[in-house]
Amino acid sequence: MTTYGYHGRYLRVDLTGARGEYVEIPSDELRGHLGGSGLGTRLLLDSGAAQADPLSPAATIAFVFSPLVGSPLTTSAKFAVVSKSPLTERINDSLASSHFAIAGKKCGCDAILISGQADELSILVIDDGQVCLEPAGDLHQTACSLAEKQLKARFGNDFHFAVIGSAGENLVRYATISHDGRHAGRGGSGAVLGSKNIKAIAVRGSQRTAWADPDGLVKYAKGLSEKSFGPATAKYRELGTASNLLVFNRLSALPTKNFQQGSFVGAETLSPESMLQAREKTRASCAACTIGCEHLYALKPSAAGGFAQEKSSVRLEYENLFALGPLCGIADADVVLSASQRCDELGLDTISTGGTIAFAMECAERGFMDEPWLQFGDGDALLRAIELIAARDGFGDALAEGSRRLADRVGQDTIDFAPQVKGLEIPGYEPRALQTMALGFAVGTRGADHNRSGAYEADFTDKVDRRNVTTDAVKFAIESEDKAAIMDSLILCKFLRGVFEDFYAEAATMLRLVTGWAVSPDELRDTARRIVSAKRQFNIRAGWTPDEDTLPQRFLGTALPDDPRAVLSATRLDELVAEYNRQRGWAGDDG
């Protein structure tokens, strides 16, 4: 049965037999998990993916759309990639944007679930639901943007592509999947695709879904677009997320030199305000977005340390700026821009790349490993390490495993300062200075994650004392996680969040206009909790244990050197996690 906004089925692709078939998704499963991250988790739980080796043919990776994809609602052209992470061995749901989402949904399905393995490097072609494999030997080790360009020339402009770079082909555990310069970035979904010998997925389709109330939807969408031009998104439109850098630096919350400090002497040089004085900037946006938060900075031709540049400009976000800049002690803007660009082209998650390299730099400086070339502040070393990682060449093979596995290899208690939770490298929020976020990191099902938990929002208000939070902060972490579960399942861009006066009421309205379901805000709150619980359930089946819900020793009991008031004791974190489990209604050990 077809429901408004949905096709009511997913496309199951078996690469081993090069076959595809539609499988019905019951309506209550759609309503109970919406789409994107929520529906993907549900479908993966049903497929047994939690127990499989994420890089084996038995593993399943899901590309999941949503009821809002293809609608006129601003920022809704998004898809989720959901699988078991080869980096964390836990649930991984990462999001990306643009025409791949629209074309993929037009293939007549709400999700594409891929398992098996192609015999040789291949392109998975899904043409209006018809599945075949095409050889991709000519794209072997090709950079992401170049691969997409060549695929466009080969298949035509009405196809859209999700591709992996050489990092994905070489099974780097934090390889991304790229579409149109945007990445499903975290947790290594690119390696999952690489393990299946899939260089790219090409989608084209003609099947649209109907909307329950087209006139109402168009009217609502117009109002939402107008609001998206207002002050709530001004920061994203005018400056981009990179403008966080100076704020975080001022508050000693900017992770620096592998989290050894919370502020960086070179921050001013790396700020977007300074960068603008020396280079041109252009703006871009995902398909169907009225905000346009992407700020692309021109690259100097000489700045790539001798490595080929595929493009003359690079998107700069706070996360790649912090991870490839202060975290590695780099104050040279050209190096950071080049490193970002190389990560984009090779298909590497910038946060895990920067986190792992910064960790190795500290290990090398403290004599735990014999790699003297790896030094904080050395731009050439950073650029060289990135190339080695993507190729798994030399020491790059160890770096390609991520900081947790690298620490296991180095031993000598270096795990205490490996910047990760559940194996996922920590994004640009110093946990001691932002302690509601510290809780969000500790309990995050994906690991240390600022997208599935925006708990830092409470830290930037008068609701908590960010450097000395109590269990009063737990409800804010839960609220943030629940809200993200809905946004990531509907799917809407997080940068829109400030325009909603009553998020759950407005989300219910959007869903009603598209699907015709009389969804209440309270039903959506229940849905959020169901989705968060489903992720936890996935992790339990994958082998999760309660001692994973913590932070590395570095962050516990010792003050941040540049802010003596920023201390988080192990006891306090345990209390926060226990209270989180209590408020979630979880026993703490069995979900």
């Binding site: 002050p231 001004a234 005018e238 403008s243 100076l246 704020v247 706070y318 930037f460 969040r497």
Partner: protein, 92 residues
């Protein structure tokens, strides 16, 4: 007489057109609202987009000395205090 150091970040910085300023007040007992009102008079673009009367508009927040965030303008400031003005959605 108190001197208050104001630091601008993000949109407030672009509207004020500078990164910081020192404001001197004739009377002791200056409040956050007093500072914001003065800034509104001095920087019309800042007033247009970030300030309403003696308060910050939704979407902006103040912080004292990098320590306490506040939305309530009644908070008293002392000589040498630093008032930070920034976008409320400080994350990514």
């Amino acid at each position: 007489m108190p001197t208050i150091h104001v630091e601008f970040f993000g949109i407030p910085r672009s509207r004020a057109g500078l990164s910081k300023i020192e404001l001197e007040f004739d009377e002791p007992g200056v409040s956050v609202a007093d500072v914001i009102r003065r800034l509104g008079k001095q920087f019309p673009k800042l007033a247009d987009d970030c300030i309403t009367g003696s308060a910050l508009r939704d979407g902006y927040i103040a912080n004292i000395n990098g320590q306490i965030f506040l939305r309530d303008g009644k908070q008293r400031l002392y000589d040498g205090d630093r008032l930070l003005l920034l976008s409320a959605d400080a994350g990514g």
